[in-house]
């Protein structure tokens, strides 16, 4: 008994990692929760990029000690992990976060503790660093790489209004917001509905479908009976796949508009022909197969977790890389300019305008953050998923054969309107 307890105590004592002279970075990943379908490739991109920077010497010669933790998309777990990372001597210099609910929950904490928080959530609510807009609380330490959910939806609605005219249809097109009853799908709801009204859409009552795969025939029938023409899908790939399949079975004629997490190569493969024609915003200027100069470095980064270099990387992977590299460049600036304290790292994000991390030209979209505006980009690249046949077989083969294609449709550059900030 005694021996057993002594032995286990020794094992535990040895197991506690004693890594002091490194820059601690926290990384919240959803690898098992409701959004893990897109959380896994994004987190892989972040982890690979940070490991790559470490291989190249780290942040100005100092390596990062990245702790990647799967928090299962559970807000309380994220808060508990945050407490762990910000306690004790090894307080993290920055955090790579994930979901909307946890990002919003942690926003007050990171503000108080002055910890830069680069999120996988693009909720407009955390894009106002001063709170001057009056529409959201001040979130001076929250950053994200990509157009906000609201801005992306605004851009898609602008495209939809043009699309309606281009198709020569008359009357008011009907718009419906669809998604789970969760902060993430709800985040752009009001902004989208307001924009749709301004653009002359008739706004239908929103339709709720869960943030997990399931049978959504009832929701599709509701949308069909209401005569919806354009529908926003607020969920991530997994549940959208189920919905698209149900809607195809029901025979709806709706132009679906996914959000940035709503569609990707994997979802298009899983949904098959049901995904054909879905439009969605892509946060990077290039997707797999592109010849943009930055793709060479992206391929190097990809080799961190896939030394053979054969793995197919979906759009979220590249976004993860960009999000991580913006952070490392801000850290590098801070290290040269007064140290890695939170306020300094935050300043690091403000140093350049229309800025792309070194080596990622043509992949990361030029972004600008300022002390009064954390909307990194107003440019929204809208793509369309094209599925032209059965999607059995490996994804790289399907992409190579052109069975699944991501076609650029339009790039909308939104005006940086102050009244749009924060919602």
């Amino acid at each position: 008994m005694l021996r057993l307890s002594l032995a286990s105590a020794t094992v535990l004592a040895c197991a506690v990692p004693a890594l002091a002279a490194e820059i601690p970075i926290g990384h919240l990943a959803d690898q098992s929760g409701a959004t893990s379908d897109v959380g896994v490739p994004y987190a892989q991109g972040v982890a690979d990029a940070l490991a790559y920077v470490n291989r190249k010497g780290g942040i100005k010669g100092e390596k990062m000690n990245v702790e990647t933790v799967d928090y299962g998309y559970q807000v309380p777990r994220a808060v508990a992990l945050y407490k762990k990372w910000t306690g004790g001597r090894d307080k993290v210099a920055a955090i790579q976060g994930w979901g909307t609910a946890d990002t919003e929950a942690l926003s007050a904490f990171v503000t108080k503790d002055e910890i830069p928080y680069i999120s996988g959530s693009y909720a407009a609510q955390v894009s106002d660093p001063t709170g001057a807009s009056g529409k959201a609380k001040a979130a001076p330490y929250n950053f994200f790489y990509g157009p906000s959910y609201s801005d992306a939806l605004r851009a898609m609605l602008m495209w939809a209004a043009d699309d309606w005219k281009a198709k020569g249809k008359t009357g008011k097109p009907k718009y419906v917001h669809m998604g789970g009853n969760h902060p993430y799908p709800n985040s752009p709801k009001e902004a989208g509905e307001a924009m749709a009204k301004d653009l002359g859409f008739e706004v239908l009552p929103p339709i709720v479908f869960a943030l997990a795969p399931g049978d959504y025939t009832a929701q599709c029938l509701t949308a069909k009976n209401a005569g919806a023409n354009y529908a926003y899908l607020g969920n991530t790939g997994g549940s959208n796949i189920s919905l698209l399949k149900s809607c195809k079975a029901v025979g709806t004629d709706i132009q679906f508009m996914g959000n940035v997490w709503g569609m990707d190569e994997n979802a298009a493969k899983a949904a098959g022909e049901a995904a054909n024609g879905v439009v969605f915003p892509v946060r990077t200027a290039a997707v797999s197969g592109s010849t943009a100069p930055g793709m060479a470095m992206a391929a190097e980064i990809s080799k961190v977790s896939d030394p053979a270099g054969t793995a197919y990387r979906p759009v979220h992977y590249y976004t993860g890389i960009c999000a991580a590299l913006y952070m490392t460049e801000a850290l590098a600036w801070a290290k040269d300019n007064g140290g890695l304290a939170g306020p300094n790292v935050r300043k690091g994000f403000y140093q350049k305008k229309d800025w792309v991390p070194a080596g990622m030209e043509g992949v990361c979209v030029p972004s600008t953050w300022s002390p009064t505006d954390h909307r990194g980009m107003m440019e929204v690249n809208i793509y369309r998923a094209k599925v032209s046949g059965p999607t059995d077989g490996a994804l790289p083969d399907l992409m190579k054969a052109g069975t699944i294609k991501l076609e650029p449709v339009k790039t909308v550059t939104l005006p940086r309107k102050s009244e749009w900030q924060g919602w």
């Binding site: 506690v16 808060v79 508990a80 306690g87």
Partner: protein
Amino acid sequence: MATQSLIPAGDYRTTYAADTTIFPTAGSRYAVWAGLALLCCAPLVLDRYWLSLLIQIGYFAVAALGLNILVGFTGQISIGHAAFFGFGAFASAWLSNNYGIPVFFAIPLAGVMTTAVGLIFGLPAARLKGLYLAIATLAAQYILQDFFARANWFTGGVAGTHAEAFSIFGFAFDTDHRYFYVVLAYLVLTFVLATNLMRSRDGRALVAVRDHYLSAEMMGINLTRYRTLSFGLSAFFAGIGGALYAHYLQFVSVEGFGILLSIQFLGMIIIGGLGTIMGTLMGTAFMVLVPEAMGWITDAVRGSALDRALSLKDNLSFLREMAIGLVIVLFLMFEPDGLAHRWRQIKAYWKLYPFSH
């Protein structure tokens, strides 16, 4: 369950008061005082991470204590405890956010509100037993969870709600170092309360209901009353625990109170020992610390020779989850009476050393 008494030979009790004392020996009393004194010093030496674990053990233990009164002492079953825990959390946040009630008062008030809810959901307990009751409490879990997601006025809906930091006369207990004392105070208070309850007439009635309800009824114990009461009591402790949790995280979200947490509460009291106050704390500590310990071990293995040899990589995190399950299963197989029982045996071992009998 065989128990070995540590009372020295020749120590005869001549009054009921002496017989129902909390500490059978002076040594155990001193040990508790010394333990408390040590805990009071903890914030001076421990960092925020360790304190956060202790705080977690604290608020979960308060709630698990309620479940142990229900399951361990009264012999009822509940798989909806997390919902009451959540109700307490939301109630406390709601009271302090909307009515300006200081958190100091909001926590006990949340306990009272949760008691009321517990009594309502406890009503089926008057008529149902065993698995039937389990399913009735499962319904409570789902009804309350759905209520949390929809009642925007009360919980902030799916987006969750902010909870004020605990403060007294403007002094905010908003850091782990300070909040630790709040949780410790509540832990001591609730554990003393529960211990005394079990020594009282009502407490013995609850145990009688568990041991043989027919005999209990023949002795004049009102079964309906005590079964429902036990639900109310259990909800009270859950509510207090939930409120402590809310003001610690300063944010309450519906996601935290799923069925999984209910099962974890059951795990805590089963591992600690059904029907023991002390075991509740031990079981809670076990359930909170095992995942952390597994985390340390996987961190140590990550990137080591073992990791490379077996090319575990990302699978390590899954191994971790599986190992937690395995540890619990092994524990239940080899220590079904709980940690409290093992602790008694360790004490007896040293008491009787070097003779085993």
